[in-house]
């Protein structure tokens, strides 16, 4: 396995090499130095390790519509929008993630072992986002489908204008956003959290003690008693 060094190659060349890997192949990306767009658009099930801190959009647009895709591990922190529009596969970040982690992800699983900043899981479209630590303000904003697990505390405005995505929080919630409500945990919820906790390796999260946040569905339709506001 030849290491791909960001000191020697540009991001475009590195991504080209990663896309050329055969299914089951492995690659190391070294000296990332916060470069953006690393491992973006990788369609096949390959294993990629990024040895250091990465920049924006790490692993974005990767994977296929059937949920298959690369397995990417970042040994460091990542910038904005890790796994944006992820289709399949998985991304694991050993450090923390900046803003908009997992934004618009349609599939796949993103695990953040540290904290995630503001707007984590914004507009999530079916992917899974698991954060071991805290999540910043406005996380889960307008998330349409999928699952967000926050192992620590959630910031203000959690789940604002939520559609059908579901958020589970192990710690405290600073405040809920518009139309977000705490809901009863069902057996299916418990099962989903148990599975995710196990897959993510979040030993500190007790699935029986998480808070479920979902949509009250009051923003779905125009309500005639609101017409005075327009």
């Amino acid at each position: 396995m030849v290491p791909l060094s960001c000191d020697a190659l540009g991001v475009r060349a590195i991504n080209h090499e990663l896309r050329a890997l055969p299914a089951g192949g492995t690659a190391r990306v070294v000296h990332p130095r916060g470069r953006h767009n690393l491992a973006v658009g990788i369609p096949s099930p390959v294993s990629i390790t990024v040895e250091g801190n990465a920049g924006y959009f790490l692993g974005g647009l990767s994977g296929a519509a059937d949920g298959s895709g690369p397995h990417i591990v970042v040994d460091g922190f990542v910038g904005w929008s890790v796994g944006e529009n992820l289709m399949g596969g998985s991304i694991r970040v050993r450090g923390s993630a900046s803003q908009s982690a997992g934004s618009s992800a349609r599939g796949g699983r993103i695990v953040i072992e540290g904290d995630a900043s503001l707007r984590a899981g914004i507009s999530l479209k079916g992917g899974t986002l698991a954060i071991a630590g805290d999540a910043g303000a406005m996380s889960g904003f307008m998330a349409q489908a999928g699952l967000i697990l926050i192992g620590g505390d959630a910031g203000h405005g959690l789940g604002d204008s939520l559609y059908e995505a579901v958020i589970y929080v192990a710690g405290s919630i600073a405040s809920l956003g518009a139309d977000a409500v705490v809901q009863e945990m069902t057996d299916e919820d418990l099962l989903a959290v148990k599975e995710l906790v196990q897959e993510a390796g979040f030993d500190h999260v007790d699935p029986t003690r998480v808070t479920k946040v979902g949509s009250a569905r009051q923003l779905y339709h125009f309500s005639t008693h609101n017409h005075g506001a327009y």
Partner: protein, 285 residues
């Protein structure tokens, strides 16, 4: 250090750049630390014969004037009480020249074009100082000229750089203009800088003045604000614009992206974090 930071973000702001450096160094016959000496950084969008300007000013203002070339312009050193006279003389005789900064310690260079080219052209890597602020601009609200480039130095040693855009700047600007504040450009960031300077002049400390900016000015911003002995960073309530801080052994560095910090010495063992929205972070010299 600053040059490597600026070069890493070259493509973020390829239209113009500005660099402020704070140093205790004397100019000409100034004795270091002698009270009463004011440095005035001058620049222009037009070609200027700086030596002639310096000679002319010495004739008009007297023997207390020293100067040295600085970047595309020059830095004057004059007795503090001659500031008004120097400004009048400059405005009357060389209207194409603008005062980029005044202060005991700060010097400012601004250039149009790629930041990397500006650094190379003026040997910025060889400059010395205890604090420096650089800005790469990708203009959205106003023209690309030297005068529109950041940093803005609205009062002595107060330096402001801004990433973002203010939506109500015209309203605040009208209020400031009505109160007698003069502007060098129609740049939205300059409004925030002048507003800050006004609050400080009214007796606010830096922290209070920054909180007033957050209250009065609407828009997206990461602001880096420095005085002769303080450095502050603040982000808007939605943290719409990025910022990363590294606190390392011997220095504090703030940048828009981690890429700019990745090459700094000792970064692997530094504490790296993102400033929280609406929280004012300040470090002292």
């Amino acid at each position: 250090m600053l040059v490597s930071m600026l070069e890493a973000l070259d493509e973020r702001g390829p239209d113009s750049a500005g660099i402020a450096v704070y140093c205790d160094d004397a100019i000409g016959r100034e004795s270091p630390g002698r009270p009463g000496c004011l440095k005035i950084s001058l620049g222009s969008d037009d070609p200027v014969e700086w030596q002639e300007v310096a000679r002319g000013l010495t004739t008009r203002l007297g023997a207390g004037v020293d100067w040295q070339p600085f970047g595309a312009g020059m830095v004057l050193s004059i007795p503090e009480d001659l500031e008004a006279e120097a400004r009048t003389s400059l405005a009357t005789n060389w209207p194409e020249i603008r005062v980029l900064a005044t202060g005991r310690n700060v010097r400012v260079l601004k250039g149009v074009g790629r930041p990397t080219d500006t650094c190379a052209r003026y040997g910025v890597a060889d400059w010395a100082g205890y604090m420096a602020v650089a800005h790469t601009r990708m203009a959205t609200e106003s023209a690309v000229t030297v005068l529109h480039a950041h940093p803005f130095v609205p009062s002595r040693d107060l330096c402001v750089v801004h990433n973002g855009s203010f939506s109500n700047y015209a309203t605040v600007r009208r209020r400031l203009v009505a109160a007698g504040v003069e502007f060098d450009s129609d740049n939205d960031s300059e409004v925030a800088a002048r507003y800050l300077a006004r609050r400080l002049a009214a007796g606010d400390d830096l922290d209070e003045a920054i909180r007033w900016v957050m209250k009065e000015m609407d828009g997206f911003f990461t602001l880096v604000i420095s005085t002769a002995d303080e450095l502050s960073v603040v982000r808007d309530a939605f943290a719409c614009k990025p910022a990363v801080v590294a606190v390392a052994d011997g220095y504090v560095a703030v940048a828009s992206e981690y890429r700019a910090l990745a090459e700094l010495p000792g970064i692997a063992s530094a504490t790296v974090f993102e400033p929280q929205p609406e929280e004012v972070y300040t470090w002292f010299r």
